[in-house]
């Protein structure tokens, strides 16, 4: 630190607690029960996951529910070369994927489990893997395996 240019270190730390609202609550609790819920507007085919309670396109309540099978298509993937604070998986390259679940029109971001990330391709079929111990939340999903 140069005397002429002082730097002041400071940390900002604020805890938050987010209310999910009815649609996300149903989704997160569904994950605990090993179920994957999507929502849409009655009479429209579009389904979103994670579900919305209100469709911003048709400006109607999205209370038409569907349970998804847990298979899907890899829309994209990204490989993190370093460990991450949120995911302390030592020695393993972390692969994130955007998965368009069968029956849904939006993507879910999650981990992709593969030993060979170099062989992944956009369009690869994947299947959701549940964790054995689940509480309501996205961590109830362990990630996706290649089919």
């Amino acid at each position: 630190m140069s005397e002429s240019h002082w730097i002041v270190k400071q940390k900002i730390e604020i805890p938050f607690h987010y209310t999910p609202g009815p649609a996300l609550l149903r989704f997160l609790e569904g994950l605990r029960d090993g179920k994957l819920f999507a929502s849409g507007v009655r009479g429209e085919s579009r389904k979103t996951v994670p579900p919305l309670s209100f469709c911003g396109r048709s400006w109607k309540p999205a209370d038409d529910w569907a349970e998804l099978p847990g298979t899907g298509t890899l829309e994209s993937f990204a490989v993190v070369p370093h460990g991450m604070a949120e995911l302390p998986q030592e020695g393993e390259r972390i692969v994130f994927g955007l998965v368009k679940l069968d029956g849904a029109d939006t993507c879910l971001a999650h981990l992709i489990h593969t030993k060979e990330p170099g062989k992944l391709k956009v369009g690869t079929k994947v299947r959701l893997r549940w964790r054995a111990e689940r509480s309501p939340g996205i961590q109830a999903i362990a990630g996706f395996d290649l089919l």
Partner: protein
């Protein structure tokens, strides 16, 4: 010349301490849906959306983009503002300029906040400069208390005067279905018996923390006339900021330079020389009882040192010459990102004659103010013509 701009519709959530039934996106939808229904509009009729909110209060950078489906923003031009307590008025003023400029015809303006999800006093402490102010800052309450102490010292207002403001606001709020704190039986004695949060500010002298959203539709003259039988025309807007540090203003609350400047500007634009006589109603951003008293002076409602007399005489009560905050004001509801916009929306409801039980009969000219940041002020005048 600017195009004439009218507010044609408003929508508010039911403001409460905790909306644990819905998330931020759904909170926004609630206000937007009501505003669109109020105007009989569809989302496709809206040209652009202006939003206001403070990221650190939500713990959310660009919360408006995460919640885009909640405000019907797909395919729309949109812009988000962050100016602290004034953000609701800053957003409304931006919407005004965009319509007045001829760029957009019909604009949706939205302010929103879920205070219950974070720690607003903590986030407000980070309003302070990290080197100069943050270590000592004490959220909004401590900061406000030091200002109030100066005002009490100089003006001679008493705790009873402040308590009367607290009672007026919470009782007015009973006529407002959206207000958070509704206390029909509140008495001066109860206010004076509530504990000091930070001397001289007692618990009932200070605003609550609320979850809530407010939306409005603004339109050009020709559209406004079609959309509302009586639009609330925006007759003047002004913004005035203080210097940058909290201790810069010599007598911060007692002599709010920004508030004097902004209000004088809008008064001049509208030919208002005696606001108590010329205005019919005011919705002002008072975070505490002492702020309302000080603002009476700063907004020219009374001479210096006379604010206590004004409330003693009931001038600013519902039956007085200039009702201030028929909605209950900030003392009844403070969802910061929405609060200043609620002032504008409530003033608009008065002008449109749609204020229900809190209607000031024949309201023709209304003042709405926003207050925030380091003593920043926004001021708007709405009128029937």
């Amino acid at each position: 010349m600017p195009h004439k701009v009218g507010i044609v519709a408003t929508g508010q959530t039911k403001h409460t301490a905790k909306r644990t039934d819905i998330n931020l996106r759904e909170l926004i939808t609630e206000a937007v849906t009501r505003a669109l229904d109020d105007a009989g509009l569809r989302m496709s009729d809206i040209d652009a959306v202006m939003l206001g909110n403070m990221e650190p209060f939500e713990g959310f950078m660009l919360p408006e983009l995460w919640s885009v489906e909640g405000w019907g923003g797909l395919g729309k031009p949109a812009m988000k503002f962050n100016t602290g307590g004034t953000v609701g008025t800053s957003t409304a003023i931006a919407a005004y300029y965009f319509v007045a400029s001829g760029i957009y015809d019909t604009i949706l303006a939205v302010g929103f906040e879920k205070q219950s999800e974070g720690h607003t006093q903590t986030a407000i402490t980070t309003v302070g400069d990290p080197l100069w102010e943050r270590t000592m800052m004490a959220g909004a309450i401590g900061n406000f208390a030091v200002m109030a102490s100066t005002y009490v010292h100089e003006s001679g207002v008493t705790e009873e005067h402040a308590a009367k403001i607290a009672v007026k606001s919470r009782r007015n709020a009973c006529n407002n279905e959206y207000a958070h704190l509704q206390m029909p039986n509140l008495t001066v004695e109860e206010v004076l018996a509530s504990p000091y949060l930070a001397y001289p500010v007692r618990r009932l002298d200070f605003c609550p923390q609320s979850d809530g959203a407010c939306a409005m539709v603004l339109a050009t003259e020709s559209k406004a006339k079609k959309l509302a039988p009586q639009p609330a025309w925006i007759k003047a807007v002004a913004t005035a900021h203080e210097q940058q540090y909290m201790g810069d203003s010599p007598r911060r609350l007692a002599d709010m330079r920004s508030q004097r400047a902004a209000s004088q500007r809008v008064y001049k634009a509208c030919g208002i020389s005696d606001p108590v006589r010329d205005l019919d109603v005011a919705e002002i951003y008072e975070v505490a009882t002492y702020a309302e008293l000080a603002m009476y002076e700063n907004l020219g409602f009374c001479a210096p040192g006379q604010s206590g007399k004004l409330i003693d005489q009931g001038v600013t009560t519902m039956s007085g010459q200039l009702p201030v905050n028929p909605s209950g004001g900030v003392l009844a509801t403070n969802c910061i990102g929405a609060t200043a916009m609620i002032r504008v929306a409530e003033a608009a409801l008065q002008i449109m004659g749609k204020a229900g039980k809190r209607q000031v009969p024949g309201a023709n000219l209304a003042l709405a103010t926003g207050y925030g940041g380091n003593a920043w002020t926004d001021a708007l005048i709405l009128g029937r013509e």
